[in-house]
C-alpha cells in the first residue's frame, strides 16, 4: 500500500504511487476507507467476510477513477461495509474496470475513527505515468 495525504485546506488530498494502474486504483480504495473509517478498521476474525463486485466505466482514466471511487463510497455507505481489500483490473484503453472488494460489516465501536466523505472531486485530479509506474492525486470532499 502506498499513499500519502497532502495538505489541502478544506478537504482531503491523497497521492498514491504504484507500479500499475490496477495498484493505483486499489491503493486509493484503501485510502478512501481509511479516511472514512479511521486507520485500523481491520478485525482479524471478520476480515474479508463480505465481498462486493463493482464494474465501472468512464470517458478517460480520470473519470473512470472518479466514477469507481464514487461507487465504492456508495456501496460502502449503503451496504454498511468497511472494505479492507481490493483487487482491481483496469482496461486502460476501454476506460472500464472490474473490481472485487472484500471487507467487514460496519461496526460503530471500531469504525467511528474517520470522517464522512461527501464526494470524489475532479478538481486537482491527475494520473500520470513515469519510469517508476503510476502516480495519482485526488481530492475527497469531506
Amino acid at each position: 500500500m502506498s499513499f500519502e495525504e497532502l495538505p489541502h485546506t478544506a478537504d482531503v488530498r491523497i497521492r498514491a504511487r504504484a507500479a500499475t494502474l490496477d495498484g493505483i486504483f486499489a491503493d486509493l480504495t484503501n485510502a478512501l476507507m481509511q479516511v472514512m473509517y479511521g486507520k485500523e478498521p481491520h478485525s482479524p476474525g471478520l476480515k474479508g467476510a463480505l465481498t462486493r463486485e463493482i464494474d465501472a466505466s468512464g470517458d478517460d482514466t480520470g473519470s473512470l477513477l472518479r466514477n469507481f471511487l464514487s461507487d465504492v463510497l456508495f456501496v460502502s455507505e449503503v451496504d454498511r461495509i468497511v472494505f479492507t481489500g481490493a483487487t482491481v483490473q483496469v482496461l486502460e484503453k476501454e476506460h472500464t474496470l472490474h473490481a472485487v472488494l472484500s471487507g467487514e460489516p460496519f461496526d460503530p465501536a471500531r469504525h467511528a475513527g474517520g470522517t464522512e466523505v461527501k464526494g470524489i472531486s475532479f478538481s486537482g485530479l491527475r494520473i500520470e505515468q513515469d519510469t517508476n509506474g503510476y502516480i495519482a492525486e485526488i481530492v475527497f470532499d469531506v
Binding site: 495525504e5 497532502l6 495538505p7 489541502h8 485546506t9 478544506a10 478537504d11 482531503v12 488530498r13 472514512m36 473509517y37 479511521g38 470517458d59 480520470g62 473519470s63 466514477n67 464514487s70 456508495f74 455507505e77 449503503v78 454498511r80 460496519f106 460503530p108 469504525h111 467511528a112 475513527g113 474517520g114 470522517t115 464522512e116 461527501k118 464526494g119 470524489i120 472531486s121 475532479f122 478538481s123 486537482g124 485530479l125 481530492v139 470532499d141 469531506v142
Partner: protein, 477 residues
C-alpha cells in the same frame, strides 16, 4: 497580496480579466489585510476560473471566508444570465443546502451552565458521525415528502411548529424541486439518514447570546442578551452528495455537447435553460428540500430534549431563522439597471437580503433577513441582518462562516483532540464527538477568526452585526 491582484478599497480587491485565460468578467473579493495573510493562490485561481463560465454577470465574487475548494472556491458567489448563462454543481458543492439554523429558548446562561447532561442528552437524541442511522423509520414515501415539501413535510408530520416555516429561507422548500432526476442511488442513501447530523464541520451547539449590537433588529428577530439558543449546522446528507456526483457526470457530457471550454472539470455545467441544466436544478432543489426537512427533524429532537430536561414548552422555542449556504437559486436581481431573474450560485455563502425584499418574512421587511454565521467550535457565532449593500454588490450575499486556514492532516499532526476538549472545558464549553480527530479537525486554530470575517462583511456593508453568541455545549459528528 498575490501578483496581479488590485486593491479597490480598504476591503475590496479585484482579480483583473486575464489573470487566467478566458475570463469574461473581473473577479472581486472582500478581505481585510489581516485575513489576506492566509489567502491561498489556489482559491484566487478558482475565483478566476468561475469568471470564464458563459453568461456570468458582473463579477465572480468571493466573501472574506474564501478558501480553496473544488470548482468554485468556498465563499464563492456568481450569478448567471437565464438565457446565456450556465448552472454548475461545482458552484453548489457536494453538500447541497448545507445550512444553519438558530433556535431560541426561554432559558438563561445559569440554567445551562455546567449542565453536561443537556449536551449528553442532545448527543443521544441526534445521530452523529460516520454510519449514524436515523431513529425515524422512513420509507420511500417519506423521502418523497422531504424532497418535494422540505421543512413543511416535517412540520406537517408533527416535527415542528407552523411558524417555523416562515422563518426559513424559501419558507423551507424550493418549489422547483423535481424528484425524477434524483437517482435510485441517491434515494437509497437518503432514506436511512433523515434526521442525522453527519460529520466534518457539522454540529449542534448550545449557545448563549453574549452581546447585542442592534437592539431593534435583535428584538424583531426574537433574541435577547443572556438568552440560551441552539444552533444546528448540517445539510442534505448522502442524498445531496449523490445528486452532485451523478449530475457532475451528466453535465460533463453536456459541457462537451454545448461546446463549453472549462479550466477545471469540477466546473462541469450546462445552460440554465437546457434539459441537463434543468434536470440538475430540479434534483438540486429536491436535495435542498431534504436538507431543510433534515434540519427540521433535528430541531424537533433538540426541542424534545429541552422540553424533557427543563420542562420548556415546545412552543416557547421558536425558530429565529434558517439559511442555506450551498445552493443555486433563481432570484430577482438588478443588473445594468434592469431587474429580472438570474441564476445565483452560493458555495459557502449566505443569502443576505436587505429591507424591502419580498422573499423575507413580512414582520422583518423593514429590517432585512436574519443572517446566521456559525463560528468554529469554541469561537463565537453571529447573527447579522441583510442589507441593501449586499443587493447592490453581491447579488444579496454575504459570508457563511469563518473559513479554514489549516488542512485536516496538519490539524491532526499539530493539535490533540483531547487537549482541545480539555481547553474548551476550562472555558466552560463541553464537547461530545465520536472520536478525537473530529475535535482536532475542527479546533478553533484551524479556522480564520470568525470575529474578523464578520467585521469585514459588516464594514463592507454586505450585512450588519446584530448579535454575538458563544457556545456552552457542542455536539459534533
Amino acid at each position: 497580496m498575490l501578483a496581479g491582484i488590485q486593491k479597490k478599497s480598504d476591503l475590496e480587491w479585484e482579480v483583473p480579466v486575464g489573470f487566467v485565460p478566458g475570463m469574461r468578467v473581473p473577479g472581486r473579493f472582500y478581505l481585510s489585510d489581516s485575513l489576506a495573510a492566509t489567502l491561498e493562490e489556489g482559491a484566487i485561481r478558482q475565483l478566476a476560473n468561475v469568471a470564464t463560465l458563459p453568461g456570468i454577470l458582473r463579477n465572480s465574487l468571493a466573501m472574506p471566508d474564501i478558501h480553496w475548494g473544488y470548482g468554485f472556491p468556498i465563499g464563492g458567489v456568481a450569478a448567471f444570465d437565464m438565457t446565456e448563462g450556465v448552472i454548475s454543481p461545482g458552484g453548489v458543492g457536494f453538500d447541497i443546502n448545507c445550512g444553519v439554523r438558530l433556535l431560541a429558548t426561554p432559558l438563561g446562561y445559569k440554567d445551562v451552565a455546567g449542565r453536561r447532561d443537556l449536551v449528553d442528552a442532545l448527543y443521544q437524541a441526534v445521530p452523529t458521525g460516520v454510519g449514524a442511522k436515523s431513529s425515524l423509520r422512513m420509507d420511500a414515501r417519506a423521502l418523497d415528502g422531504m424532497m418535494t415539501k422540505g421543512a413543511r413535510y416535517a412540520v406537517e408530520s408533527g416535527f415542528g411548529l407552523p411558524g417555523d416555516l416562515t422563518r426559513c429561507e424559501e419558507n423551507g422548500f424550493m418549489k422547483a424541486a423535481d424528484t425524477k432526476p434524483v437517482s435510485a442511488k441517491a434515494r437509497q442513501r437518503g432514506v436511512p439518514q433523515g434526521g442525522t447530523l453527519g460529520s466534518g464541520n457539522h454540529f449542534l451547539e448550545v449557545q448563549v447570546v453574549r452581546e447585542i449590537y442592534d437592539p431593534a433588529a435583535a428584538q424583531a428577530f426574537g433574541i435577547a442578551e443572556g438568552q440560551v439558543c441552539c444552533m444546528i449546522h448540517c445539510g442534505s446528507r448522502g442524498l445531496g452528495h449523490q445528486v452532485c456526483t451523478d449530475h457532475i457526470a451528466i453535465l460533463e457530457g453536456a459541457t462537451k455537447r454545448y461546446n463549453i471550454k472549462l479550466p477545471d472539470r469540477q466546473l462541469a455545467c450546462a445552460p440554465v435553460s437546457s434539459p441537463e441544466g434543468k434536470a440538475y436544478f430540479g434534483a438540486m432543489a429536491a436535495s435542498a428540500n431534504y436538507a431543510w426537512a433534515n434540519r427540521q427533524l433535528i430541531t424537533h429532537a433538540a426541542r424534545e430534549v429541552f422540553r424533557k430536561i427543563f420542562s420548556v414548552p415546545y412552543e416557547e422555542m421558536p425558530l429565529i431563522y434558517d439559511v442555506a449556504h450551498n445552493v443555486a437559486k433563481i432570484e430577482e436581481h438588478e443588473d445594468g439597471g434592469r431587474k429580472g431573474p438570474v441564476c445565483v450560485h452560493r458555495k459557502g455563502a449566505t443569502r443576505a437580503f436587505g429591507p424591502g425584499c419580498r422573499d423575507i418574512p413580512p414582520e422583518l421587511a423593514g429590517i432585512g433577513q436574519p443572517v446566521i454565521i456559525p463560528g468554529s467550535m469554541g469561537t463565537p457565532s453571529f447573527v447579522l441582518k441583510g442589507t441593501q449593500g449586499a443587493m447592490e454588490k453581491t447579488f444579496g450575499s454575504t459570508c457563511h462562516g469563518s473559513g479554514r486556514v489549516m488542512s485536516r492532516s496538519q490539524a491532526k499532526k499539530k493539535i490533540s483532540g483531547k487537549e482541545v476538549a480539555a481547553g474548551l472545558a476550562r472555558q466552560g464549553i463541553y464537547v461530545r464527538a465520536p472520536n478525537e480527530a473530529a475535535i482536532s479537525d475542527e479546533a478553533p486554530d484551524v479556522y480564520k477568526p470568525s470575529t474578523e470575517v464578520v467585521r469585514v462583511v459588516h464594514e463592507a456593508g454586505l450585512s450588519r452585526l446584530v448579535a454575538r453568541l458563544e457556545p456552552v455545549g457542542v455536539i459534533k459528528g
